[in-house]
């Protein structure tokens, strides 16, 4: 019987079995949801395919969303990717994440990861990282199980819903998942996976969920771009041997307590923050005609 409720347990099990975290997650899934490892891999491969499709479509997207608030920024960033301060790989990752989110905003097909609002982060970071490392599709698919395991522990001990924990719960969780997958893809050990996750989430704690007009667009779409890059940096730090002073499970505990103490106005209600700025309110009025 495989059971884990914390990152510490997950890391411990992986070390004991001399396997990556993904194998522990797959074994758990097999026991709890009665699915064979083969069918899990097949299902995850399909999810990855949808992620790649949405990413490629996003990088060409010129369509505006239903509200007209977003659309076309991924293309701008792609065209600019040869220039800039941060380098092509970073700009392309940001563009990809924005692209996936734009596809979401125009009623395109995406994979919620862990949510629709944060759907660009894991695909973009993993796509960029795998390209850099030269990882195979099998390795990518396997790393996504590690990402899922991280998300499962976060959901069990904090939350992955903006309405409960603010944006740290959605984009923060996605950053932790993406960083974990990236560490594994580069050959990092399970402890480094934990540190990558902790570093990523620690620096997004308390993030408000204050979408303009209550739509998954502003600031969500561009935030996906920022946070994909944030996850890559966290993974790099962990791979360089940087450790999070606060261990992963303590970071999740902090995330949970911060989420609970955040005011309702900045937890997906569109009653605070950016949503209630002068411009936010006037955009809402324009969109819904009230």
């Amino acid at each position: 019987m495989i059971n884990f409720n914390s990152i510490e347990e997950l890391v411990h099990l992986a070390k004991e079995e001399h396997c990556p975290i993904s194998q522990i997650v797959m074994a758990w899934e097999a026991e709890n949801n009665l699915t064979s490892q083969e069918s899990q891999i097949e299902a995850m491969r399909k999810n990855w395919q949808v992620m790649v499709d949405s990413l490629q479509r996003g990088c060409q997207n010129q369509e505006k969303s239903l509200s007209g608030l977003t659309g076309g920024d991924a293309v701008k960033l792609c065209s600019y990717s040869q220039q800039g301060y941060t380098g092509e790989a970073v700009l392309r990752a940001a563009a990809s994440a924005i692209g996936v989110s734009e596809v979401n905003a125009v009623m395109g097909r995406i994979v919620a990861c862990p949510t629709a609002g944060s759907c660009g982060i894991v695909p973009a970071a993993v796509y960029a990282g795998a390209k850099k490392n030269g990882n195979t599709e099998d390795e990518i698919v396997e790393a996504l199980f590690t990402a899922a395991g991280i998300g499962m522990v976060i959901e069990a001990n904090a939350s992955i819903a903006g309405a409960y924990g603010g944006c740290q719960a959605e984009c923060g969780t996605a950053a932790g998942m993406a960083a974990a997958a990236l560490v594994q893809l580069a050959g990092g050990n399970p402890e480094q996976v934990g540190h990558g996750m902790a570093l990523a989430i620690k620096n997004l704690l308390g993030l408000a969920c204050d979408p303009v007009a209550g739509l998954v667009e502003v600031p969500c779409v561009k935030r996906n771009g920022f946070i994909a890059v944030h996850a890559m940096l966290a993974a790099d730090m962990a791979l360089a041997g940087v450790e999070s002073v606060i261990p992963p499970d303590d970071v999740i505990d902090a995330m949970n307590r911060i989420g609970r103490s955040m005011p309702r106005a900045i937890k997906e209600t569109a009653e605070g923050g950016l949503a209630t700025t002068k411009t936010g309110l006037s955009l809402a009025k324009k969109i819904f005609g009230q």
Binding site: Q40, S67, V103, V106, I110, V111, M152, E155, L215, V216
Partner: protein
């Protein structure tokens, strides 16, 4: 703890799991409960659904679901046009339902045979839904499992008769709820099962004495987080 594919998944049409994917699943459930081609859909939207439905494509998702499109079906985008082409007349109007979940819809459907059903349900987050009312009956259904709804007189032995029939067809019960309006009066049983419910099962149940009504609702698959 929920599973791997609740965290990475579902595949869905954006932008919102609660306002789009969940809305599609509400429509899908209503369509399944009608069980025939719809010709008219009157949809009432409450709370956040009423305020933001256009920006989230909630109207398209609900109607697409009624037409039988799953949350990952690209046709959701064009559901309003497809409905018009198929001769499905539809309307959306706001409603205020006291105490209801902010993402609640009341869907009244008329089928080609003239049959009319009314379903009330909410999109409760992550694409998950809860059907709370079918016609005059309070229910609690998620759509994740096939469901058998039995309306019967509150008398000893009815539950036993129903579960015996399910056992005979080797159908495993995942969840079961029994309620009644008053002792000895009308009662209702909701059984969510792991296995599909055939028409034979429903017919056998219909023959139980003191049973007023039995019908099955197929599953529409699981939801997940936003």
């Amino acid at each position: 703890m929920r599973g791997v594919f609740d965290i990475i998944g579902p595949v869905m049409i954006g932008p919102s799991s609660s306002h789009t994917a969940g809305a599609a699943r509400l429509g899908l459930m209503a369509g399944k409960i009608l069980g025939e081609n719809p010709v008219k859909a009157e949809i009432l939207l409450h709370g956040s659904f009423a305020q933001t439905y256009r920006g989230h494509g909630t109207d398209k998702a609900l109607l697409g679901g009624i037409l039988g499109f799953a949350p990952e079906d690209m046709r959701l985008r064009e559901a309003l046009d497809i409905a018009a082409q198929q001769g499905l007349v539809y309307s959306f109007a706001p409603v205020d339902i006291p105490e209801a979940h902010p993402n609640t819809a009341i869907i009244k459907l008329t089928g080609e045979s003239g049959r009319v059903i009314q379903v009330e349900g909410a999109s409760v987050g992550g694409g998950n839904i809860r059907i709370t009312r079918i016609g005059d009956f309070d229910v609690d259904l998620t759509g994740k499992y096939p469901a058998l709804i039995i309306v019967h007189k509150d008398r000893p032995g009815v539950v036993n008769r129903v579960t015996s029939i399910l056992a005979r067809y080797k159908i495993n019960i995942a969840y079961m709820r029994v309620s009644r309006k008053m002792r000895g009066q009308e009662a209702m049983m909701i059984l969510e099962t792991d296995d599909e419910l055939s028409t034979e099962v429903v017919e056998d149940c219909s023959e139980i004495p003191r049973l007023l009504k039995a019908f099955a609702i197929p599953a529409i698959g699981g939801g997940s987080t936003i």
